[in-house]
């Protein structure tokens, strides 16, 4: 295989860039990072809901891509392979968080100094802006409340815009199941947010 120069790397397809990485061209890793950092961030943020954890997950996804670069085979699209790694990491983190959330620290009601504070939002928003902000929050909340199987397919389809075939491959589920889960997830979502959010808001 021919080794590409750095400027050539930018012209290559994802799969060709990955081949360069497998051949030892370390710069190919930077290309993969620059192409996927925002896509993975947008995907994983729906699981973490904060930038710090999300960045850690994105970083770990890239490091795993590098570590297991030799196990990647061209029969799969690079994006599909990367999303599979990211989804597995997100699921593991999500399970860990769920276990941890069973231990919570509440304010001691008998202690007057131990109170939970509500911090008011000091930024005053215009009506439309406020409505949009609340709508986005409600939608994000409804999305996070979906069961795991529904959540993953709807994020992959409607946020990441992946095809049904790619989702089937990433989640390891039959195409019929993917379609059924997406339809049911969308219905559930609409039922959850129907009262709060009008689709015209977006």
């Amino acid at each position: 295989m021919k080794t590409a120069t750095i400027s050539n790397l930018h012209q290559l397809s994802d799969e060709d860039v990955m081949e360069q990485l497998q051949a030892g061209v370390v710069q190919a890793f930077d290309i993969i990072v620059s192409r996927y950092k925002d896509r993975l961030h947008n995907f994983l943020f729906r699981y973490t809901h904060n930038h710090e954890d999300c960045e850690d997950l994105v970083q770990e996804t890239f490091l795993r891509v590098y570590r297991s670069r030799h196990s990647y085979e061209r029969i799969a699209k690079l994006s599909t392979w990367m999303y599979t790694i990211a989804l597995n990491l997100a699921k593991t983190m999500y399970k860990k968080k769920q276990r941890m959330s069973t231990i919570s620290i509440h304010a001691d009601e008998s202690d007057p100094d131990d109170r939970e504070f509500v911090i008011p939002d000091t930024v005053l928003l215009q009506d439309d802006e406020l409505h949009l902000k609340l709508s986005v929050q409600e939608l994000e909340k409804a999305l996070s409340e979906l069961n795991d199987d529904f959540k993953e397919v709807i994020i992959l389809r409607d946020i990441q815009q992946l095809t049904y075939e790619e989702i089937s491959e990433i989640t390891g589920t039959a195409m019929g199941t993917v379609k059924s889960r997406i339809n049911r997830a969308r219905l559930q979502l609409q039922e959850k947010i129907g009262d709060y959010v009008k689709s015209e808001t977006f």
């Binding site: 370390v26 890793f29 990072v33 620059s34 950092k37 925002d38 961030h41 947008n42 943020f45 930038h51 999300c54 960045e55 994105v58 970083q59 890239f62 490091l63 590098y66 570590r67 986005v136 939608l139 994000e140 999305l143 709807i154 409607d158 946020i159 815009q161 049904y164 019929g176 379609k179 059924s180 997406i182 339809n183 049911r184 997830a185 969308r186 219905l187 979502l189 609409q190 039922e191 947010i193 959010v197 689709s199 808001t201 977006f202």
Partner: protein, 110 residues
């Protein structure tokens, strides 16, 4: 999915609509993904009347899809590249150490 094929047979199957029915879900997907042909589009109204459950799924699907697609994108923050570069450089160092160690182990004793 060919909705018109279904018209040729009967809409009665929609009366027994099961949530796990692959055919029905394929039709709902075609509607929500807006991949119907103009001819199929014309039959939609009848289809909705025949199966209110299918109509509910399809309409909710179209709305949800539109809302989610317009959620603001969450991109990586500007300092991500720096953090990633640092983590990757550490990874390369670790790899080198591992490689050296395995080379040393492979060497025959003098």
């Amino acid at each position: 999915m060919n909705v018109s094929n279904l018209n040729k047979h009967s809409y009665s199957m929609f009366l027994n609509f099961s949530e796990s029915d692959d055919v029905i879900h394929s039709i709902i997907s075609s509607i929500t993904e807006e991949s119907l042909t103009p001819a199929e589009q014309l039959t939609l109204k009848d289809l909705y009347i025949s199966s209110p459950v299918l109509a509910r799924y399809a309409k909710a699907g179209l709305k949800s899809k539109k809302m989610i697609a317009n959620l603001p994108k969450v991109n990586a923050r500007p300092n991500f590249d720096q953090k990633m570069a640092a983590a990757f450089s550490l990874e390369l160092q670790k790899e080198e150490v591992r490689l050296n160690a395995s080379l040393l182990n492979r060497k025959e004793p003098v």
